[in-house]
Symmetry: C2
Subunit: 283 residues, 2 copies
């Protein structure tokens, strides 16, 4: 595995791979890798000639009161894990390399953002869009792999790719979970032992919602209400949101039909956890 820190070198490698007709699978990450990332990387490796991952904690997608400074980082460990997952090139630029000067251009995501995590993170997805546009330009991937744990991000990346005709295929990959159901996340390390015990209830609340849908419940508000009640009873953290929306449009549904996302976010003392499931409910 080659570690690349400069944009110019990564671009040159990408051009060479293109010239050689190689397919490139790309996994953008902010590092502190866990099995969720590794599943993306292994998939990228399996489905393409070359797998490229990036590790870049993107300041643009953090709000002023968010955890950019304290976001967990461990590059030495990440390196080993990425290599083990079959990554051929690990792109690891510093902030000056990615943002050498003030941007003349900004991107604004105007749909799919005022719900779920976007509601409490104004500008977050604008920052995600800018860094992904840059990374896609530098790496020119054939396919880009995104975990469905960040379902809103995947929906927005899908819109970005479609709207701007980006020559890359979005591959959404199912959330990887601990044995007890907790979705893998870099932020899980910040849970207290008690919170860690409670955390699997996020997924269980979603499974409860799913079972209601399967039993024929058509009212999104009733399903959200049941999930909320379950969480209130079982979790000490503060419920940030419980939402039932059309996917990937992320708009409210008058009744359950088509593709639907059930999504929750809970703020624990030192970590905000999110989880979701997407259901195909037929008509």
């Amino acid at each position: 595995m080659k570690i690349v820190k400069s944009v110019a070198e990564m671009s040159e490698i990408a051009r060479r791979l293109k010239r050689e007709g190689k397919t490139v699978g790309f996994v953008p990450t902010m590092g502190y890798l866990h099995e969720g990332h590794l599943a993306l990387m292994e998939r990228a490796r399996k489905e393409n000639d070359v797998a490229v991952a990036s590790i870049f904690v993107n300041p643009l997608q953090f709000g002023p009161n968010e955890d950019y400074e304290t976001y967990p980082r461990d590059f030495e460990r990440d390196k080993r894990l990425a290599e083990g997952a079959g990554i051929g090139y690990l792109f690891h630029p510093d902030v000056k390399e990615m943002y050498p000067r003030e941007l003349s251009v900004t991107v604004k995501v105007v749909k799919r953002t005022d719900v779920l995590c976007g509601r409490s993170r104004p500008g977050h997805f604008d920052g995600v869009a800018v860094v992904l546009l840059k990374l896609f330009s530098i790496i020119q991937p054939t396919r880009a792999y995104f975990g469905m744990k960040d379902a809103q991000q995947a929906a927005i990346v899908g819109a970005l790719i479609e709207d701007l005709n980006l020559p890359v295929e979005l591959v959404p990959v199912e959330t990887v979970r601990e044995k007890d159901g907790l979705a893998k996340s870099s932020r899980n390390v910040r849970l207290t032992p008690e919170e860690r015990e409670e955390a699997p209830h996020l997924y269980r609340s979603l499974l409860l919602g799913k079972s209601l849908v399967e039993k024929g419940e058509k009212d999104p508000e009733k399903i959200a209400g049941a999930i909320k009640d379950y969480l209130t009873e079982n979790v000490s953290g503060e419920i940030d949101y419980v939402e039932v929306l059309a996917y990937p449009e992320l708009v409210p549904l008058p009744e359950i039909r088509g593709r639907v996302i059930l999504a929750v976010a809970v703020k624990f003392s030192n970590a905000r956890l999110i989880d979701n499931i997407v259901l195909e409910t037929g008509e």
Copy 2:
């Protein structure tokens, strides 16, 4: 020359050219081609294996009171001219093909826009940025050719490419002029015979400014003032702006040094004409 109307087909052609290792020169236009465009096309043809041009009157870059509906169009003539200039693929999508649904993503150009034409055309360069991002994604050119008559556009495209690391090289091409100095423009057809007589004074006013710089004048305001006086005396149209700025940053200069643009815009009865020259003044 092949005419391509669908995004999917154009993308497929672009992918094939890439696979074959061909360099692609791209000339984006809004049609109604004149010698200025043809100079770009010939240059694209000469410097690349394949030349691609687009003809698309982009509604996003026209303001509500601008001339989108009446912008001159003549595709049959354009076709002949493009073919004569050595274009291999002429991309001519309709609006539905380029904008099949409301965009989820918008681009805002936040620098280099509040001067020159940007001042009176709010949002214009945002629309230019979106359509170029789309066209670059679809056509994946090695080089993109822009006429220096739209110097502000070239400066903004340069910023877009740098900021987003777009894998395309910007090639600015000198303004093509009539024998009497008038810069070629699709809008020149809208001048009355009297205005057409006056129109070369735009370029002459710039040459006057240039001669002042060459004589050692360092004060941008004095140069702008002299240009303005000349235009007031020689042209019946309304002066929209006369500006002397750093290029390509498009910011005011305390004194003449480095690369400088002298730029003018004049509103005639039915056409607003622009012209500029960029000078290397040393330092």
